[in-house]
Amino acid sequence: MYFYHYRTLFSVKKMICTEPRSLGGIKDLAFELNNHYSIPLGIACFTGLAVLAIIGLCKKSNYVTNLLLWLLMLNMNSYLYSTLTAGDYLLNQLLFFNIFFSVKQNSNPTLNDLKNALHNMALAGIKLQICLAYFLAALFKLTDASWLNGSAVHQIFQIQEYSNSSLQLLPLWICMVLTYLTFAYQLVFPALIWFRRFKIGMLAFGITQHLIIAFAMGLFSFGIMMMICYILFLKYDYSLADRAEENRTRI
């Protein structure tokens, strides 16, 4: 995507306006690209991101490449702050926990135990981060009158930026149902997603909702980012009972 948006984001005539920012100390590591922007540095940054992502996808990553990936993405997002959505902030957090994932096993069992512990902590951290995001979104909605009286989605669909001609014509009662469903979903997601009985229904609703956000409301990157997060709840979903069953089968 960065290659595609090169002219807008990185060229001499880029639409991004950068102001130097400094917080001092180690925190300035997040603003290196923003503070020292040049076209070669921009190109190096997004090429580096692409290379590190490919390394990760080929399962050749290690703690150092993962750390680099997180730092580069952090810099990219600090530079592109005026175009960010909540999905980009979430990506930063997921990449932070991604640092602790380890693919390769070591010959030293003590080191392996430590690696496994870090790996499990990172997986729990990512899942908790997604739950926290939903819970916070619901908490903010509790403070807003239009979400409480059910008019929020209708109001949002009247804004051309987040809507299209079909959404604008939706009757008020459907919008009210959507408002309360969204609100309820965000509120109960952190509690119910851990139970297999509710999981598929929750994720099906979430995927539908994020597909509407991506394709009907036009917030593509945000919608897709949130849907990608659901994979973690499906793929790494072994309960203790499942593991015991799997071990028994192997024996």
């Binding site: 984001l9 902030y89 729990a124 951290g125 979104a137 036009g218």
Partner: protein, 178 residues
């Protein structure tokens, strides 16, 4: 590794996660837990763990439009609605569309309107605001890139904030490509 060692590691990692999420929650939540913790949260979270989950709170009620026209100071071309053009282009191709440009321009307008307040105004000179600088820069380079505007060209910008109750106009004159 002995069981005790494993337990110590597990407890340490649990404490790290608990502390991390307590600070992140306090940083990003609408309800803060005490001043000392808020200060610690801010120090810990920004910029590495910065996040915002206000997602459509407050609910947007105003429609923003950015109009631009160019000319030579006496005769002017027709106004062009930049936001509408970008949104239309984004709708045509959602995946490889203009989402970035739409977000950039609408976010910049949002901040600018917040900074300028809720009254109609004609600006003979540029307002000295970072939000204006961001919007002007984006608009200027949009026209350089997509409309092939040349250096020295004069132009004017108008931002219209429209809600069911009220429409506010912000008119910026005497702008030029340098």
């Amino acid at each position: 590794m002995p069981v005790t060692g494993k337990r110590i590691i597990a407890v340490a990692l649990f404490l790290f996660l608990a502390g991390h999420f307590l600070l992140v929650f306090n940083y990003a939540s609408p309800f803060k837990i005490g001043k000392p913790l808020s200060s610690a949260s801010n120090r810990y979270c920004y910029p590495f763990f910065h996040q915002q989950w206000t997602v459509f709170v407050p609910t947007p009620t105003r429609q923003f439009d950015l109009y631009i026209r160019n000319g030579n100071g006496t005769s002017w071309q027709l106004w062009m609605n930049v936001t509408k053009t970008l949104i239309k282009k984004n709708r045509k191709s959602i995946i490889m569309g203009k989402e970035t440009e739409v977000l950039l321009v609408t976010n910049a307008i949002n901040y600018l309107v917040y900074d300028l307040g809720d009254t109609n105004h004609v600006y003979e000179q540029k307002p000295d605001l970072p939000s204006f600088k961001v919007l002007e820069h984006a608009a200027r380079n949009y026209f350089r890139n997509y409309r092939c505007w040349k250096e020295g060209k004069q132009y004017e910008m108008a931002v219209v904030a429209k809600s069911p109750e009220k429409t506010t106009y912000y008119y910026f004159k005497n702008l030029s490509l340098k």
